[in-house]
């Protein structure tokens, strides 16, 4: 508990520093005020992908090791992943609309993959919510998480392929040629949001464990196995 609170405090300070830098860094001529969106858009999306990776890792590791902690990692990351993906996409849409007059762009593989990821997460969380038994829940979502690990990169790849062949490359600047002050502001914010993510993830995992311990009213173990009633099998 204490550790989580300390992490949260550090993260809050880091975010404040990040915000300060975001507002003192120079503006890009083309984007104007909207340059500042970079400092929240990039970090949130970075975290979204990090979270997805952790959900994938947690899922696979749970299947291998069966330790409940991996499941808590996967689930907590998924929740945070949805949050930060949605926020990241939102900031991207504001930026896109303001700077390019276009909020969305299907030919951008990263955008498309993020959209798919959001819905994969939503399905993942819906599955967890629908499964009452903790062990079943852990197993099943781990399996879904593993399936997603395999398919989501394919989404990225296929949209890329589609875009390349369509030759409709939308030039969304990655901020590669950046003023050093901007770069510093960006890096600090990436760091700050990462800290926030870690703090929130730790908190989420802690809360889940508290709930597991407190949840003495879940079904008893006995009702998971019942003998098959062979006489009732339809004769096919």
């Amino acid at each position: 508990m204490k550790r989580v609170q300390i992490m949260l405090l550090i993260a809050a300070l880091a975010l404040a520093a990040g915000a300060l830098l975001a507002y003192s860094a120079p503006l890009d001529r083309l984007q104007g005020e909207f340059t500042r969106l970079l400092y929240v858009h990039v970090p949130t999306l970075w975290i979204a992908f990090l979270a997805f990776g952790l959900t994938a890792l947690g899922s696979v590791m749970y299947l291998i090791r069966k330790k409940e902690r991996w499941d808590r990692l996967a689930a907590g990351s998924a929740e945070l992943g949805v949050l930060f993906s949605v926020v990241g996409v939102f900031t991207g849409m504001v930026w896109g609309q303001a700077v390019w007059g276009q909020a969305w762009d299907w030919s951008d593989a990263r955008l498309a993959t993020t959209a798919v990821m959001i819905f994969v997460y939503i399905g993942y969380l819906a599955l967890r919510q629908a499964t009452a038994d903790p062990e079943k829940r852990a197993r099943r979502s781990a399996i879904l998480g593993t399936i997603a690990v395999v398919q989501v990169p394919l989404v990225y790849f296929s949209v890329n392929l589609w875009r390349t062949l369509h030759q409709t490359q939308s030039i969304r600047p990655d901020g590669t040629t950046m003023d050093p002050e901007m770069l510093v502001a960006l890096l600090v914010n990436v760091g700050a949001f990462s800290l926030a993510f870690i703090a929130l993830l730790m908190g989420r995992m802690l809360v889940t464990r508290l709930e597991l311990v407190a949840g003495a009213d879940t079904e008893l173990a006995g009702d998971t196995v019942s003998p098959p009633r062979l006489s009732e099998i339809e004769d096919v």
Binding site: R140, Q151, L154, V236
Partner: protein, 224 residues
Amino acid sequence: MSLWRQSLEVSRVDLLVERRLGDTYRIVLPFAVVAMMIFSLALPSSVTDIGDVGVAVFWAVAILYGMQVALRTSLTETQQRRDTVMLLGLDPAARFAGRSMAAFVLLSAFMGILLVAMILLFSPELPRGWLIATLGAILLASAGLAMLAVLAGEVSAGLRNRSTLAPLIIAPLVVPLVIGASQVLESIARGDGILVWILLLITADLALLTVGVGLAKPLEEASR
């Protein structure tokens, strides 16, 4: 019994159940055709040649409704049957393969008929070589969708809301299949090669097969 024979047996049972109790061709297929009609009715008047969108509508409906087709078998399965099957020592990988094969057969036929309906409804311009290409795409897309549906069905087995949850789980993961399949015909129309899209579809299918077979045992344990 070898793995292959086991799989075939599982397929045979699934298809038999579908024949006796199933509503794929009686209900889902007509529903899908109506869906395509609704699409064509909803198109704005600025679309002068609906043939242009015909292929796109076909794939969208084929995949979205195809999910329902492929999930049919898992919806009618009972816990008793699963328990028996497990006790009889049926290899879970064979079960996955068998169920996927059955769903694949149902889906391919479903999409084939739907394709004919689309052609009649939308009269699209069909470039040379479209038939082979589209049939190939149908087979590959059906295989992938079948496996995804079996996996989604298993992962949501026994849950109260599984008829809405399973499609939600499938839908985002099916995107590579949709892109690959719809691009096949478009590439032909442009005069480009379709190899890359076929390879994409094959890759997606192989990935799903690997995951399905690899996770078959944990999946069986988890879905009880």
